[in-house]
Symmetry: C2
Subunit: 368 residues, 2 copies
């Protein structure tokens, strides 16, 4: 039987080969006589798993040597507090608000620092990104916060800003939860990047933090030790017991990513090529339709998260029921936005998007 | 082939039936077409998983209705900050230090409140618990912190203190990470209990918090929202994306626990009966031997974690190598204590302890 296509925004579909390998290794990892879940995190078996995962991720994302890779807990919402606890020094922080997630980051930061709204697309209902040239950056900002892909509103920044060129010396912090590993990252423009794993990296419960070394060691005294980046880095992500199984699953996903190719492209470059093709197919279909609509400005559209609406919203329930019957799962939009949302993360093959478009066309034609 | 016996202190052995079920359901949970890892946490499938897990745990541990059950992230070390952030109101907190874990809790609390050392067994090298009657409790304490089983030092409090009888009106907070679900809990004496899942409940990355409702809603303003108990409770452990797969595995473990019986005993009572038999067998063997030694006072010995030493420590490496060859894994003691440690959590059958004792006897006799 064909496995259904799962368009969940997260926790999201995982590569089927990864799930198969995990199932096969569940009772006995590599002849150790243990499930990965049963291993001491300080034993040589799990140490090899986490070290391989980190090295594979560093290679895949081309993370420079002066950045540390941390596996943490608490997700993106946890990081909304953990980043200012570590980087703000209680001072001014610039926020660029582009949708629900950066809005939440901005609000949470008030507990720990002096957040300044440098730009917002709220007046545009988060459908259009404010141009970097229009951002009101503070001269004394400790960092600039940006969500480079907004999962709920479906807007994505396709080029990271060069803060220096914009007159700011602050490091850029990006929340890349929902498009990490879907495209390359220009680390020259980044001070810290964080993301929950549950979209493109693995299961929920692992939070990835990639941080430039000079940003370590400046945490506020009220920062919990378990969430102090320097403590976590100094202990190789083992200050507290890490979410071992989630890191293992992320590691299997990294190995799967390394095996992917498109022509001469390998790894993340191959994924980016595929992700562009998937997004073009779906947006192209929506734009030519008078039945469906996506409201996001063309140059700000997310490749990962495609929110769309039926122009006649009384058809929503029928659309979702038919989709499920056709093996197309979890297409319901976020409750704050409504409508539909198709998330096209790395694990979604082009065939899944083709099946979705075929279903959407069919649904439209039946009602025509 | 006989599966090895895994004595890891945590992450620790899990019931083999639980692992088998997880492997079988990895690609398709109950005909949903999804792995549990791939489900939106807000969809009806995962909602049924978390609600069943919570109800099963409430039944197993006999948690009264005026307590909330929270599934969080960050582990015991995270809770060392999260508890004072939520309960201390910045005031005085009494700490009973009985080993490494309560020592860490005491140190971390300085960031958020005024911790007071009410008692300590440090002078006894953490081998003897200070009698509750000797605790110097503060009249104005916001709560009293106690680690009811010290994983590293192998001391366990076999009866929770009645703080009222000791003259304190403060709620009791217990870190029960390493013996949760191994025995019944007298909730009349507890205000809050927390524990990492990775010993007796499931995989690492899930933290259980059981908290009396009147203790919610008093967090300090600097408490991160994702770690504010009231926010977590109000959102059914879904303020941030929960560690869904870990909660699923814990839920399978709870179902396994409900199926266990010993004579007329069911669930936790059956486990407690088994755990006493396992501990008696191992301590009894150690005490009659002149080759091995356990240094903990008899009435304070942990049923879960049995640290022991070879009197001739030059034999340690040979002991561990032979144990591994005999299918007895992860017996090395914690680096801070040295020697050996056998953790006898719920998933360890009596046969595993019998095999360990047989090996220990054999190892001793060969060298006699």
């Amino acid at each position: 039987m064909q496995r259904p296509y799962n368009f969940s925004a997260g926790p999201a579909a995982m590569p089927v080969e990864v799930l198969q390998q995990a199932a096969a290794e569940m009772l006995d990892w590599h002849g150790s006589g243990m499930s990965v879940m049963e291993m001491s995190h300080r034993g040589k078996e799990f140490m090899s798993i986490i070290e391989t995962a980190e090295a594979d991720l560093r290679e895949l994302l081309a993370v420079p040597p002066n950045f540390r890779i941390l596996f943490m807990q608490g997700g993106g919402l946890g990081e909304n507090a953990i980043v200012p606890l570590n980087l703000s020094r209680g001072g001014v922080v610039d926020f660029v608000v582009t949708g629900s997630w950066s809005q939440k980051s901005f609000k949470e930061a008030r507990k720990f620092c002096d957040p300044h709204l440098a730009a917002s697309n709220e007046a545009d209902c988060h459908t259009r990104l404010p141009a970097p040239g229009s951002w009101q950056l503070s001269p004394d900002a400790q960092y600039v916060h940006l969500c480079s892909n907004e999962t709920i509103h479906g807007v994505e920044l396709h080029e990271l800003p060069d803060l220096k060129a914009l007159g700011s010396n602050a490091p850029l912090v990006i929340d890349f939860s929902s498009h990490v590993a879907s495209r390359t990252v220009d680390w020259r423009r980044v001070g810290l990047a964080f993301g929950g794993a549950q979209k493109n990296l693995g299961p929920a419960g692992v939070t990835l933090v990639v941080v430039r070394e000079d940003l370590l060691g400046h945490a506020l005294s009220i920062c919990p030790s378990a969430f102090d980046y320097k403590t976590v880095a100094d202990n190789g992500s083992m200050y507290n017991t890490p979410p071992t199984y989630g890191i293992y699953m992320a590691g299997l996903t990294f190995q799967w990513l390394k095996r992917q190719s498109e022509g001469n492209l390998r790894g993340i470059a191959a994924m980016e090529h595929r992700n562009m093709a998937k997004a073009e197919l779906l947006y192209g279909f929506i734009d030519q339709s008078s039945f469906y609509v996506n409201k996001v400005a063309t140059d700000c559209r997310s490749r990962m998260n495609v929110p769309f609406f039926l122009r006649d919203e009384s058809r929503n329930e029928a659309f979702l029921a038919g989709a499920k019957a056709a093996g197309l799962l979890q297409l319901k939009g976020h409750k704050s936005v409504g409508g539909m949302r198709a998330s096209l993360y790395n694990a979604m093959p082009l065939e899944g998007v083709q099946a979705l478009v075929a279903y959407m066309r069919d649904f439209e034609q039946k009602l025509a």
